[in-house]
């Protein structure tokens, strides 16, 4: 199958789908501000912080999952979605930070700095965002050319570190019930494991090829 067909439909669809949670959240806050009924619950800031954080993590996870998915179906087209999903992860992370710093702390910088210094989970969150920033900034084709493919790829491997930091952030903030955070941690760990043996595996095949006739 050509690379074009699934992307032509899939990309705009995914773009829309991933925009929906953000639009929903903005809509709910607008309703809240207007004094209209909303679905932010009795603790709107808590709902908003959690909702945006969860979607940042989901987009990150999706970005990491696209390569193994592409390998599983034996088609390259999912790889071309990674820039979009990665940028969504960054956008949701920014929304998440705005929700916490803006709507929850009302830009109380003193509390925010104390949080950053004293609460490991906030530090992990900030570090995740800090890692996603250079990736977002170098997400253009021009940046790939400017950096050179090798360096660009090396830089963008940071996304795995971002994934680890993001689930650490989640695990550290959960109170009592860690199940949801553990599920995300397991997914990230699984995706990392998929990434590592593959390279060894490829090396083995290459080694075999060099030694003798290939088996197929």
């Amino acid at each position: 199958m050509s690379n074009r067909a699934p992307l032509a439909i899939g990309k705009p669809l995914l773009f829309l789908a991933l925009a929906l949670p953000a639009l929903w959240l903005v809509w709910q806050w607008l309703a809240f501000a207007a004094g209209a009924p909303h679905h932010l619950g009795f603790n709107p800031q808590e709902t908003s912080n959690r909702f945006s954080g969860l979607w940042a993590l989901r987009c990150l996870l999706l970005t990491l999952a696209l390569r193994p998915f592409s390998q599983a179906i034996g088609r390259p087209w999912p790889l071309a979605l990674r820039r979009m999903t990665g940028l969504y992860a960054f956008a949701y992370a920014l929304m998440h930070l705005s929700s916490y710093l803006g709507l929850d702390l009302l830009f109380d910088w003193k509390t925010f700095t104390r949080d950053l210094l004293e609460r490991p989970y906030i530090g992990f969150g900030m570090a995740t965002l800090a890692l996603l920033l250079p990736l977002a900034l170098t997400s253009t084709r021009r940046a790939v050319r400017r950096l050179g493919a090798r360096r660009w790829l090396a830089l963008h491997r940071l996304v795995y570190i971002a994934g680890i930091l993001a689930v650490s952030h989640f695990l550290l903030l959960a109170k009592g019930d860690l199940r949801e955070a553990q599920i995300y941690a397991a997914l990230i760990a699984g995706l990392l494991l998929l990434r590592i043996p593959r390279r060894y595996f490829l090396r083995d095949i290459r080694g075999q090829r060099a030694q003798g006739p290939a088996n197929g």
Binding site: P37, G41, D115, P120, L173, G176
Partner: protein, 324 residues
């Protein structure tokens, strides 16, 4: 178009707040104010005028209970809906709306409480033998959760000291432990060991005997909804909410400091005392401020949740950073 939009709006509103409940709440709040004013002037006793006209059987059962004006937080009470729909009661699930969703299955009548340990009159007490209607009073307390949110609740209850005095702790009794119902048939949360069930909490005997400590059976003039810990719960307003154990099935008088559930689960995060203290952060978040449910801005958290003048003497000479 404007009209249609308004219709949709109103539909959604009535979804969230059934009108009867909304009206009830307004009347109720007005009623509470009147009762509070009348109580000190007229010595308005139980069986006085009910403030709820449409008293649908159990709802207004405690409507005539006199308010104790000594214990009346200045702050406006939290919306009834919020107080009864945003709860932590992990036996019914860890989500804030899980208790309201699942707790209805819990049977609270008949109810009995086992009284054990260093006490003169141990035994199994029926609810009505433990809580006498004539002892009931209303108190408006601030309620501060360890998760940094807070509410203001008009409770109906009996001073814990009154109940304890009747049970007669012996000289050996230095602590009181309370235990929550643990019935897997109605409590879906028990299937996962977030905590070591059954939930247990405890107080030093002098804390339990302090006049602020309340055994609550109702709120907003009504019987306690199940999700709020029906039919009988502790309320210790100067401590984080998890100390105010819900749906009590056992009270034990002990010589040694009892185990408490959150402390057992994470000893460095949740102490035995758990007094509200803005100076001592939870290891993972600050306790300096709180979100009062219904308010947009955070407010400053007060030492002992604003009850320092009443309870600070209990802890004279203690290092509250170590005994957090």
């Amino acid at each position: 178009m404007l009209i249609r939009r308004q219709e949709a709006w109103m539909e959604r509103e009535s979804d969230v707040t059934p009108e009867s409940l909304y009206r009830n709440r307004r009347e109720l709040i007005r009623g509470l104010g009147a009762a509070a004013l009348a109580a000190p002037l007229l010595g308005c006793g139980p069986g006085g005028e009910t403030t709820e006209k449409e008293a649908d059987a159990p709802a207004g059962r405690y409507a005539g209970v006199p308010a104790n004006s000594r214990y009346r937080a200045e702050d406006a009470p939290t919306d009834y809906e919020a107080a009864t729909a945003y709860n932590n009661f992990y036996e019914f699930g860890t989500g804030k709306s899980d208790p309201a969703r699942h707790a209805g299955a819990m049977v609270t009548d008949p109810w009995s409480v086992r009284v054990e340990g260093a006490v003169e009159r141990p035994g199994t007490y029926a609810f009505d033998d433990l809580v006498r209607r004539s002892d009931l009073e209303e108190r408006i307390y601030r309620h501060r959760c360890v998760e940094a949110w807070s509410m203001v609740i008009p409770w109906i209850g009996v001073p814990l000291a009154t109940v304890i005095a009747r049970l007669g702790p012996t000289a050996d009794a230095k602590f009181v432990q309370f235990e929550t119902l643990a019935d897997p048939a109605v409590m879906p949360g028990l299937s996962y060991p977030v905590l070591d069930w059954p939930y247990v909490e405890g107080l030093r005997l002098d804390e339990a005997m302090h006049p602020l400590s309340l055994l609550a059976v109702g709120l907003y003039g009504r019987v306690l909804p199940n999700q709020n810990g029906a039919p009988l719960r502790l309320v210790v307003p100067w401590k984080y909410g998890f100390k105010s154990i819900k749906s009590i099935v056992a009270i034990r008088f002990l010589e040694r400091q009892p185990a408490t559930s959150w402390n057992r689960a994470a000893p460095h995060e949740y102490g035995f005392y758990a007094n509200v203290n803005p100076e001592v952060p939870h290891p993972r978040w600050s306790q300096a401020s709180e979100r009062r449910i219904g308010e947009f801005r955070r407010r400053k958290t007060l030492p002992f949740n604003g009850y320092a003048d009443l309870v600070a003497p209990l802890y004279a000479g203690m290092d509250l950073r170590r005994n957090f």
